[in-house]
Symmetry: C2
Subunit: 155 residues, 2 copies
DNA sequence: CCATATTAGACAGAGAGACTGACGATGAAA
DNA sequence: TTTCATCGTCAGTCTCTCTGTCTAATATGG
């Protein structure tokens, strides 16, 4: 944990990568620790690829996989896990006999609400650290950046 | 209980988590794609846990592991890989007969320089997208945030 | 209406990358 | 010297993602 001050990254000027990595890592670690405490001890980081994209209307495994940028086999693996843990169920898709819909259970909905509330709580903590105005500025800059990076990716 | 929205994340207001995740993901993907093109096709994301923390003076596996927050076995596995790929070598630690130092080779140093240059290039791209002043502001906010989050983690 | 191509998902196997536990060798301290 | 801590390794396991192959169901052109 202690830094010896002889790294490639000069201590005074963190690389742009670490600038983004560190808060994300911190957030991730905090969130899953809190979810554990809030009564969801069996939720792992991988599950978020499903949880981030699920809706109460249900979603197909193939769609979830495509949105997450992974294979449908991998997505099916994660969905299976969430089924076993009781956070989602599968229902037949009335509009396509081949497809199944992944739908959150009541327990799954409680999880989604908890995760969202924790996200808000984290943002409030950041506002307390930076000041409300600066936190708002940070959000705004990151939102702009994400939009513009999508539109104009680096060469 | 909100039930009218189809998506858990309202489209207009990304969660705080996604705000950090997206630029980091974009950056990672871009960086390793570029490294591939720059002549380092065998470098994978995992290797960064070593590369981020290595110095030209060398570092012990145990230290690398502790700084990366992982086990020394896992770190040794990654170091072995980098040895085989020719990016680092191990040298005996003159101050401790049990220990070995992980030192970058010439090839490893070229990689570190390339990675750092690409990081700068990415930052310049961000400056072009947001404007130089806003990009500087973003860097400043993220630096402050990282320092303050370390000092005062969320509850 | 049928033949063919496409699509949704399942099954099997492989490999990366992380973990735990146990261990020998070396060093530090009583 | 004896005892305990530390450095790195060996062996085994688990999670997660990938390819490749397969079936059942759907969509489409003739």
């Amino acid at each position: 944990m202690k830094s010896d001050g002889r790294h490639i990254d000069p201590p005074g000027r963190p690389t742009f990568g670490s600038l983004f990595r560190e808060p994300y890592q911190t957030y991730l670690t905090w969130l899953y620790e809190r979810l554990k405490r809030e009564g969801f001890p069996d939720i792992r980081v991988t599950h978020s690829t499903v949880l981030r994209r699920i809706s109460i209307d249900g979603a197909r495994v193939t769609d979830l996989a495509e949105r997450a940028g992974m294979t449908k086999q991998s997505m099916a693996y994660i969905v299976d896990d969430l089924i076993e843990l009781g956070y989602v169920t599968i229902a037949p898709d009335p509009s396509d006999g081949r497809a199944k819909l992944v739908v959150p259970t009541k327990k799954g909905e409680r999880l989604l609400v908890a995760a969202r509330d924790l996200g808000d709580m984290y943002e409030q903590h950041v506002a307390k650290l930076l000041g409300a105005g600066q936190a708002k500025k940070l959000r705004s800059l990151l939102e702009q950046l994400n939009v513009k990076l999508t539109a104009t990716p680096p060469p």
